[in-house]
Symmetry: D2
Subunit: 312 residues, 4 copies
Amino acid sequence: MPGSTFGKLFQVTTWGESHGEALGVVIDGCPPGIKITEKDIQKELDRRKPGNDNPLSSKRKENDKVEILSGIFNGITLGTPISMMVKNTDARPEDYKDLKNTFRPGHADLSYQLKYGIRDYRGGGRASGRETVSRVMAGAVAKKILEKFKVKIAINVIKQGKLNSKDVNDSVGGILEIKVKNAPSGLGEPVFDKLNSDLAKALISIGGIKAIEFGAGFKVADMKGSQNNEKFINKNGRFSTKNNNAGGILGGISYGDDIVIRLAVKPPSSIGKIQKNGRHDISLIPRIIPVVESMTAITIVDHLLRQNAIKL
Amino acid sequence: MPGSTFGKLFQVTTWGESHGEALGVVIDGCPPGIKITEKDIQKELDRRKPGNDNPLSSKRKENDKVEILSGIFNGITLGTPISMMVKNTDARPEDYKDLKNTFRPGHADLSYQLKYGIRDYRGGGRASGRETVSRVMAGAVAKKILEKFKVKIAINVIKQGKLNSKDVNDSVGGILEIKVKNAPSGLGEPVFDKLNSDLAKALISIGGIKAIEFGAGFKVADMKGSQNNEKFINKNGRFSTKNNNAGGILGGISYGDDIVIRLAVKPPSSIGKIQKNGRHDISLIPRIIPVVESMTAITIVDHLLRQNAIKL
Amino acid sequence: MPGSTFGKLFQVTTWGESHGEALGVVIDGCPPGIKITEKDIQKELDRRKPGNDNPLSSKRKENDKVEILSGIFNGITLGTPISMMVKNTDARPEDYKDLKNTFRPGHADLSYQLKYGIRDYRGGGRASGRETVSRVMAGAVAKKILEKFKVKIAINVIKQGKLNSKDVNDSVGGILEIKVKNAPSGLGEPVFDKLNSDLAKALISIGGIKAIEFGAGFKVADMKGSQNNEKFINKNGRFSTKNNNAGGILGGISYGDDIVIRLAVKPPSSIGKIQKNGRHDISLIPRIIPVVESMTAITIVDHLLRQNAIKL
Amino acid sequence: MPGSTFGKLFQVTTWGESHGEALGVVIDGCPPGIKITEKDIQKELDRRKPGNDNPLSSKRKENDKVEILSGIFNGITLGTPISMMVKNTDARPEDYKDLKNTFRPGHADLSYQLKYGIRDYRGGGRASGRETVSRVMAGAVAKKILEKFKVKIAINVIKQGKLNSKDVNDSVGGILEIKVKNAPSGLGEPVFDKLNSDLAKALISIGGIKAIEFGAGFKVADMKGSQNNEKFINKNGRFSTKNNNAGGILGGISYGDDIVIRLAVKPPSSIGKIQKNGRHDISLIPRIIPVVESMTAITIVDHLLRQNAIKL
């Protein structure tokens, strides 16, 4: 299958280009009976909007107003596909005319051209970070389901790069840490659709994420088995370990401890002169957080449904 | 779909438990006309075998003799499913009797029990590293296809932990680096099935891999955009950059440069007394290399076929 | 995966309810470089519109005006998802208020309620024939691809029921015959995704189709092998047989002869008083033809791409 | 994905050629905790075996002895892939030497050659009816699951062709009727993966099935809406209709009534002289019945799990 669909049972398909008519998402497989309003979606979209008050953020002004087009009736999911859309209102394709024959460093212009022999050069087209609008809409629905299970996703900024005044036209990277608290046990399918492999796919699929580690991560390279192994602590049937070296997942399956993941976020590639035209971000971190949350939530919900299926 | 299948067009399904009858793989979607013999498969299986000469390796003695059961006729692939199997000959389920009611630290015993309410306690069952026998058989076929495209996969050991004489019952971790040389451009599908996301999924699905990074990886957290961005060098239509910060993939699509990946390998969890019974490895590194190669090859071939499909 | 997606490589996802905001489709996997305009889509939509001049047709007045939202740039497909939408303009949900607690005979009201515990009672919601708007939009794109391969899909009405003047509030059934001319050989995958099995799935998924037969169809029950078997006629490398008993498909794979299929179309379930409110059709035949064409085209294109993938 | 896999959650992958080493199946997604022994599988295999006592049956003598290779431990499913195999013991590839350059009428020889440019000419290779051994093994497992839900699948021979003594070298067709009794309601996914579309795909994928109809089937072409529509009868929450014109499925979803399907079975293509060598059947009917049951059971179980997944 082509690549714009994620998930096996909670199946998310996104569409749209940065400077096209609109961006949208279709969620197929959302269970019926979930209460969702446009407000729930809008709240999440607003978190990823280019903010006036955030100095790291792009100057493109988009309302990102969600329209729910199907799948929800009287505020409740029907079980049928949920289609949602955000129209582009501040698209300025003419700003990108000069890029028609240019392959911007660090961008996907070249690779799209090599793949398709044609590309939408307007602001990166499908490769733009603007595509994540669709992911956040789907994530908002996934979070409503996780609420029922009292699962919480917390994101911490472990490292945020800074700019000196002299390099004002530059951009910076950073590191994020995800903690999924109260994660149900038993999620993840041996041997390829492990919970960690699907989370890795989901999170690495976000533009700008260059590395991912689970639990002790790269530190395991310097550890001995006797250090890395940890006894289980059983607290009323809920298992955990002292340092959570495993990051809450063993053999690809959650066992009830917090799921811990760290991500390396690259500095945005649009800098300098291009930045003036393209109205881009200085750091991806503030706006990528709801996207990271969304992809995590979508993956957890998908595996929740998969695990649900086999409980006869 | 359940989790024992990987790939969309070059579709690999594995089966088997560590101390069951056999382990095997079905490859569906292998193009017809590829020359493959049992020797080609056996050569790769032998590379991952527990070795007498390798002091880091388990003492379990398995011949790992491949049997090709279908899909290949007179040494040539038919286009129909290739079924391959390796029988277990040195299985010793009785060694694991004591583990029936035990959840070994660092192992998947607990998580399988929580997921399924039942588990094969004999040597980890499906969660055992022995499952990778199936991956290596599939990888051997994938490599034959990559040969036609002159793609090469090189693995370097970046770090290998060591044991002091006093901790002889312990185990060690390490770091591997993968380089895919002469990778075709245009591989990878926006926006979820990016080449890097699928490689991340494939490689994180290998037991013991706790982290993955592409190109500059975690270093991007400390970089500025002006450092991370790199001009393309066009050499006879083949593109590359000076430092390959992007790791050969931009926007999820290869552009012809080497694909560069690093993996953190954890120290094996079986140590001490258990090790004596269970006959396990001191380091995963020597035997995991052909597995890492295999998963890389399978992913690249799958995307080769996917890219091939759209070229009308 | 949930059920609103069809196709493995030419992947069609539909969404929308009869009296919701809009109906739409996302096509992922359409090859780049195909010329498509809104006119091409609109032409097909107009063919399935409730017609003033067709006495068998519903009185609901919908413009069914297509909006292309993504995936096409300057009239050419980009290779990225094509999103298309038709807004509902003559929805009259209040006409269906009385149906809230009723399960109409022959309709899906009951089965949706049993499945989901909730349903959109407005005109059948997702189960309405109006959903086929989405299929026709996708079919229009598939046909543009078939044009490149000179494949033609012809539909003949084999039987069309008639109403006597006295039963004016009733409805009628019929039989359609599909002929795919100039079908490429080699399409279809053993053993489950046979071309005939995928066509059967595609066509039986259209509401109102109750039976399907290929080639000689039900007549084979009365035939002997010596009658049903037919010698191949090789005309410049293109194979056919005298009577085409096989319907152009053997072992699930096309061999170049016309693909011949017949479908039984049931009489619409909305009749009598309900018809007055619900503005429904007397026969599905006139409006189902472009839907049948579309599902046939989508299936053929999907298999074209699948066959293309393995030609290294 | 390639075509040797059926099902989304109860995922069945078959492999093997008629005169290769063996034929087998991998079931991924079978829920844990189901009691299954080799006897359960063997019983079903024996039903499809070429029988001595059945005069319509082939003379090839195969034990068809099942070997369970994985996924079942102490007689109970583990939730991991179930691999099963039957070795070919009476393969006589040399009987087919003459067919190397021949395309037999009514067989898949030609279409495989056109598709792959290569084929296993030994007894039809992958296209042989012998492939159904794998389906029957998977069906035996599916039936064990249906037992838990008290679902029964009954097959009736509606028509069985007969040979006059003078045409002893010929073969005959027939018609089968399937009734799924006590089918759970709510199975089937709008709009493509309807229960009837997936059953159509499953059953048409069996070699020799040329037509399928649900409920009233082709008769709807001659019916009026007022005849075809039927009031629901509610008996203690279980719904049915007088004539079951709908065949137990409306809008693609079961509502609790019997699911009724009829299939046209073609006369076997191997007749006359070829029959003497190839040891084929005079009618497919006796041996196809367990195959039809199996594909029905697999489809129902797959949809059972899918419906189970959304019940939060």
